[in-house]
């Protein structure tokens, strides 16, 4: 099973290392990790996606809760949360296939940010699945390089 952990932490040096160290020491997977500040300056949020059996997922939550630099641990499933990831990807093009690439970008809601005579730099902000799809669609053209942020997630609004 896959789970998203939204971890509020004290915004101090070394905290990322402690959290990452916990995952490696106990052999928990990290599928993706994103860190950034929150609306409170002294609080950061780490969004960690992990996969494993139920007991492991429970242990991750409990072990995270034990860490003194961690303020709160929230867990989401893909169904009850909205998740997004940002990717920048550079692909090769030729005169005869440029419009094909732009068409794919249009269909998948990606945009071209920069270009040269031989490469296009494309941005997409979407679910991890859509991002995978874009990579798959663009790979025949030749991917030069790409960078992804890792998943960010918040719980869905409840009325």
């Amino acid at each position: 099973m896959k789970k998203i952990f939204s971890v509020l932490v004290e915004n101090r040096s070394g905290v990322l290392c402690k959290v990452a160290g916990l995952f490696s020491r106990r052999c928990f997977n990290i599928d993706s990790l994103a860190v950034g500040e929150t609306e409170e300056k002294d609080v950061s949020v780490m969004t960690i996606v992990s996969s494993g059996d139920e007991r492991t997922m429970e242990q991750i939550e409990k072990q995270l809760n034990k860490k003194l630099d961690i303020i709160k641990v929230k867990t989401f499933t893909e169904e009850n949360s909205v998740s997004r990831e940002l990717m920048l990807i550079k692909v090769k093009y030729q005169q005869n296939n440029r419009s094909d690439i732009i068409e794919i970008c249009n269909v998948l809601n990606a945009s071209v940010l920069d270009m040269s005579t031989s490469t296009l730099l494309i941005q997409i902000c979407d679910t991890p699945e859509k991002i995978e799809l874009l990579i798959q669609m663009l790979s025949p053209f030749g991917i030069v390089e790409l960078a992804r942020t890792g998943t960010l997630a918040l719980q869905k609004c409840m009325s």
Binding site: E10, G14, C17, K18, G21, L22, R25, R55, E58, Q59, K62, Q63, N65, K66, K67, L68, D69, I70, I71
Partner: protein, 540 residues
Amino acid sequence: MAEKITGAQAMVKCLEKEGVTAVFGYPGVAIAPFFNSIYDSKIKSILVRTEQNAGHAASGFARVTGKVGVCVATSGPGATNLITGIATAYADSIPMVAITGQVNSELIGRDVFQEADITGAVESFVKYSYLVKDAKDLPRVFKEAFYIANTGRKGPVLIDVPIDIQNQKIEFQYPEQVSLRTYKPTVKGHAVQIKKVIKALENAKRPIICVGGGVLLSNAQKEVCQFAKEHSIPVVNTMMGIGVMPQEHPMYFGMVGNNGFAYANQAMNQSDLLIMMGARVADRAISQPDLITENTVVVHIDVDPAEIGKNMGPSIPIVGDIRHILHDFEKYEISGDYSEWIDHLKQLKQENKKVRHPKEGYVDPAEFVRILSESMEEDGVYVADVGQNQIWSCNYYVMRKGKFLTSGGMGTMGYSIPAAMGAKQADKDRQVVAVCGDGSFQMSFMELATMRQHDIPIKIIVLKNNYLGMVRQYQHFTYDDRYSMVSLDGSPNLEMIAAAYEMPFVRLENMNNIEEKIKDFLAQEGSGLMECVIDSYDLV
């Protein structure tokens, strides 16, 4: 305005405010300001002979007093040597504050002389750690460290203080309280869960309690004994739970685990309600937890929620302090009659005694441990090392009102002598005995000098078989008697070692007049070293 003092003076004042009476340590330049300040204090500073033993001594001190043990080392190698002591304490949840000196804060990260990233290195062996970057934070950091170390699931906390921070001048004010938004350990058990346990006890026919080290850390021995006696519920213990139940308690049924007694394991396996109290369900205690949960209702009481469900999925989890929870149990009437079950267990115990066939002409370690523990003062402290000696100690130690210390979680060889030193320093009126093998003795006998220098009289017993016996035994069963790396040929003459440290020495070569010899040895003033010649091929 208050007078300004240095960071080092502030550190010593913090220790005084926390009621610290002794620290175990080893100096170096990066911690020199601190040792310069403690020179003026009433706190006793005890110079060990290697930093690891400062950690073990602080551990022994903590386990006898229930207070936080303190060890101090310098930066770099001093700090890294301390790690095994810290990790040993962490594995057994012993409250400890470890203080390390660090290089000048402006030089951190430049790999200068004796620099080590100690907060990074100990991360997985501490409950929390601090690298102090401003001396103004010292009082808060110390207050928090002592609080964190000795509350919730206890454990070591490390404070790393760069030398310039120790020299920085500050106005000292010790905080009255800690405020940690991320740390609020649960003490009280959930009322609904407690009722469920009472109900389970009423429905059970074959209940059993398994106690671990958590009961001792919660200081709930009296409550457990009373609860077991009042409701006639049998009790077994893990290795770390030795010392909860006196041997003569009618409900006591021995130690479980692969080094425990068969009847204790059978008792646990045959139960229909297993109440784990402050025990981690680690592999050496319960090797196949899933087999138990299939047929047994399991109640797991622990102060650390992460321990519940980690190795065994309980039916009824309770998070909280055991003593509090037992007090809550007492509020309920429990109607349950387990007399048939107890008769059955008594029979099991009778039929499944360990039978040993000790070789003539040697000291039988099992019998020796029994006589030794019965000859000790009633409240004496018995410190067992690691190896075959530990298993014999665990199996044949006769618990009365004393304390039994050993490195259960980490299994750190060389633990017994420094831990015994810490225990003796904590309570000078108590008799303290360290029992080790000839392997573990050679890992820490440099501390004989510390004992002499600081007048810490303990009795040391070496069960000498010229082998690293536990591994030799493993090679006997697993590798067809190929004894690789286990012979202790070349070991020193212990009588000469004792003479070198001006310590009385006794050698026991067989069982003749053994009771009298042990009593004479224990009755001597001051420290003493006893060598027991045991059969090299004996098995636990």
